[in-house]
Amino acid sequence: MSENNKDDFRIKTRKWLEKNCPMSMRGKTDDIKELFWGGENTSFTSEDQKKWFEAMYHKGWIAPQWEQKYGGGGLSILENKILLQEMSRLKCKQPLISFGISMLGPALLKFGNENQKDKYLNEITNGKIRWAQGYSEPNAGSDLAGLQCKAEDKGDHYLINGSKIWTSYGDMGDWIFCLVRTDFEVKKQMGISFLLIDMKSEGVMTRAIKLISGKSPFTETFFDNVKVPKENLVGELNKGWTIAKYLLTHERQMIGGMGGDDEKFNPREIALESFDLKDGILPNPILRNELSEYEMDDKIFSMTIERAIDEAKAGNESGAASSLFKYYGTELNQQRMELIMSLTGSSELIMDSEKNKNGYIAAKFLRSKGNTIEGGTSEVQLNIISKNILGLPTK
């Protein structure tokens, strides 16, 4: 793509967005739940939201890089980057929040057959089906490959029994993509398959999990003799672990990168709101020090993301990247929330006042403790680095 073409695309995109993105669909989003998630259980919360989604859908920009036959926009990496930059410049909200796009899509594109791609990808981009993720199990934890939810071969269908946990908004999902055990006799990683399950099937039940933050973004999903057609198997039988690993790397990057974006929670701004400067200096010397330590690590972490992108462009993709970002991004986010709790003192400990949105920050603080657990614990990331990058021996 020449510089001319780039500029051209940028200008066209900007104009289109300015015209098609309603003002109410721009600006910060307090709660991701307010956005459009698609599926049968959700509907548009406003006319503008509907208009914005439909405009983007018809443009193919719900999944800009997917092929047009799947409802995508067929954009190149570079075009997609320009689109994202322009959306960010105008502060456009995401038209659709979808695990279908971020998690299932990449798996189907790489491992699915043509029928599956045709059927499911289109229903992701047009917002008809909302997908949920079914990986973890109540007793599996970090040992994901030890999963026990089983799929028995019953000739024309699989029979599913077991349960899945930590499914984000599983109670709102239409379909769920699951890792299930299809062979108990082999090494644990070798007997896993990747299956698509309609949550309206008989025998599927969900239960909301209440978190320490008081919120319930996750559910547990139970499968009691659920019948699943054989055509819903993605990839080969017993090769599901390969798909899972591929997707986990994606997920890790997403969670790690989530750290620093939340502009409303900028510790420096909060510090300057909480304390009056004395001779231009924060009056609490230790908090001042903690703030500068945090900012040092945060800024250098951003530089590291920048460098990794530049290295990748230069063809030096590092295998370390995803574990490093997952580990450091989540640890840093926890530090940030601890720092904010220190900076705000008793004012953010109050949970039933409109002044602080009913303890919004405290809930986020508690929620951040999960960052170093979900998507592979910090310990698992350190294991991966020490084994795969540093080459340290296992027993």
């Binding site: 908090l287 003192g345 008793s346 949970m351 508690l366 403790k369 614990t377």
Partner: protein
Amino acid sequence: MALVLNEEQQLLKESVKDFLDNKAPVSALRKLRDENISDYDDTLWSEMIEMGLTSLTINEEFGGLEFGYVALGQVLEQTGRNLSVSPMISTVLMSTTFINVLGNVFQKNKYLPEIAKGNIKICLAHQETSHFNIKDINTELKGDGDSYVLNGEKHFVIDAGISDYIIVLAKFETESNYIGVILRSNSDGIKINISRLLDDRKVGDITFKNVKIEKESVIEINDFKLLERVFDISSIGLSCEMLGVSLEAFDKTLAYLKDRQQFGVTIGTFQALQHRAAKMFIELELCKSVVIKGLKAIDSDLSNLNEIASLAKAKLGRTIKLITNEAIQMHGGIGMTDDIDIGFYIKRARVLQQTLGDYNYHLTRYAEISGY
């Protein structure tokens, strides 16, 4: 001043432990939260009064048991372990100490026997901003003929909603002198706004508007050091509760490490977790030392109580943060859910950390006391 408990104190500790394990475990806090009918359990409180827990630090001449602060500390460690909700901190630790240290004979005679008998509950209203600082006082007491009037706003007053009396820390007129006032919480001109905290307990914002104060309700503070002593003793008392919270969170985590299976083995076999657990154990041993030292320093009237109090609150503040964070992390996903109790510990921890000054406040104060 041996840093060990005597037999009487040890006995008290064990009987309070048995009592609270039975009567006020975490499930009781859960019930208070979920039913949200009252701020505390009055039946539990009656039994605690019966056991003499309200009279531990009150001298015999005022109807107390005169067991001292080492004894009170053992009780608070146990309320910390069980996260038991009661007016112990507001009435017995803070307010009783305020009267013990600063009250005149008339006031001691009037209030201490009533506290000992469990007839009254008192809260201490001191803090005015979102960060504790003993010196940030703008609430003002002014002369008004034979009596006084009180004006100001207080924040983060523990048990403000259930107390019969309020002790208010104020400035006297425009002078820099501090002064205390004790008054009925239903007096004219008082407005109390109750909030629920992160740890599911209640505090109040209190506004005083031209509240009339009789002479006999004024608690004179002739020496700023004595006011500091009130807060130093209270900080050490809070450190006891923080020790209990930390010890219990650690014990629960250790039990989980021994029980939980992953990758076909008990996760307690992982050396990285073992070393982190060992370091937590060591920090807790250090915490035990500074807490008992602090309690003994109160009862023995050591002159460097201010230094020890700030060391205790700082050290416990740092350790409770480490332990509760590690507790969640080592429990993994289940630790993030309300299904088990560990989350209650981190919530109580963060509130205790902020109460009467956090790590940063106390470490900076320690440097000031040390002359650098």
